[in-house]
């Protein structure tokens, strides 16, 4: 079983709780997950899941490198204008539309539906 298969519930959880991540392969097939969680709570959820799957983190097949992004507050925001789309805004900041979607799950229900005047958090 690959590390991705072993830790799939952790990755699913990251998708659900708004953590954006990238996967790389480290030493000897180690899965390296580098990402940004929207809150300390979301990060703790991921570490709890990691510990559940690999008690005491002894398997040495996963490196979980999650930092916590600034939610609101000092982070960059963008006000949606007419004709905008997540991918267009993403292009403007040089980031994937999905990372904007992930950072704004609390206010967006559908990545295709954003409205002029909405203030989006930009995870940069």
């Amino acid at each position: 079983m690959s590390a991705q298969e072993k830790y799939q519930s952790l990755l699913e959880l990251a998708n659900q709780n708004g953590t954006s991540y990238e996967l790389t392969e480290g030493d000897n097939g180690t899965l390296v997950v580098t990402g940004v969680a929207p809150s300390e709570e979301a990060k703790t959820q991921l570490w709890d899941e990691y510990e559940r799957l690999d008690p005491e983190f002894r398997s040495n097949d996963l490196i979980l490198n999650i930092s916590v992004g600034q939610a609101g507050g000092s982070g960059t925001t963008y006000t949606v204008e007419s004709g905008d789309s997540l991918s267009k805004i993403g292009k403007h900041y040089g980031i994937a539309w999905k990372s904007i979607w992930d950072a704004n799950r609390d206010i967006l229900n559908d990545p295709d539906k954003i409205y002029p005047g909405q203030v989006l958090k930009i995870p940069v």
Partner: protein, 160 residues
């Protein structure tokens, strides 16, 4: 009486047609539409006798799982054969050369109150030894994993 027979007959026909369901071509289109709606791309769909086979290469296992769930959710799909593969991952690079990484780790461990933990770094792979209080254990492992390392050998002991 005649009307009643006719009604029963019509109902039977309707039931038969709905049980028979959509053609494989219709189902293929329905699965493709569902995948597009769920923002899953890079998947090729083939439906035969109501069984959907998914092929192609996707970003990671969560996309593979999502594609399968999407296909299963389509009415008329009996089962899904998930032959999707996940794309090979890029090679991880350490955030710094070994000596700098060692210094960074030692600093971070000290800040986190993990003074009993020792690290040895070789090509980005970190061997963690020593002993820390049980209550600090997870924090210390987190600290090590967040330094931008590419491998780990966790021999850290849980003390009292």
């Amino acid at each position: 009486m005649k009307i009643k027979v006719l009604t029963v007959f019509t109902l039977a026909i309707a039931l038969f047609l709905s049980a028979c369901g959509k053609s494989d071509a219709d189902l293929t289109k329905a699965v493709n539409d569902k995948l597009a709606a769920d923002k899953v791309t890079g998947v090729t769909v083939a439906v035969k006798d109501g069984v959907a086979t998914l092929t192609g290469e996707v970003g990671d296992i969560t996309v593979k799982n999502k594609a399968e769930a999407s296909a299963k959710a389509v009415e008329g799909i009996k089962s899904v054969t998930n032959n999707l593969t996940t794309k090979p991952l890029p090679v991880a690079t350490p955030s710094a050369p070994d000596p700098a990484l060692t210094a960074k780790l030692n600093d971070a461990l000290k800040t986190a109150g993990c003074t009993g933990a020792n690290v040895a770094v070789e090509n980005g792979k970190v061997t963690v030894t020593g002993e820390v209080p049980a209550a600090k254990f997870t924090t210390c492992i987190q600290t090590v994993q967040q330094a931008g390392i590419t491998g780990i050998d966790n021999q850290l002991k849980k003390g009292k």
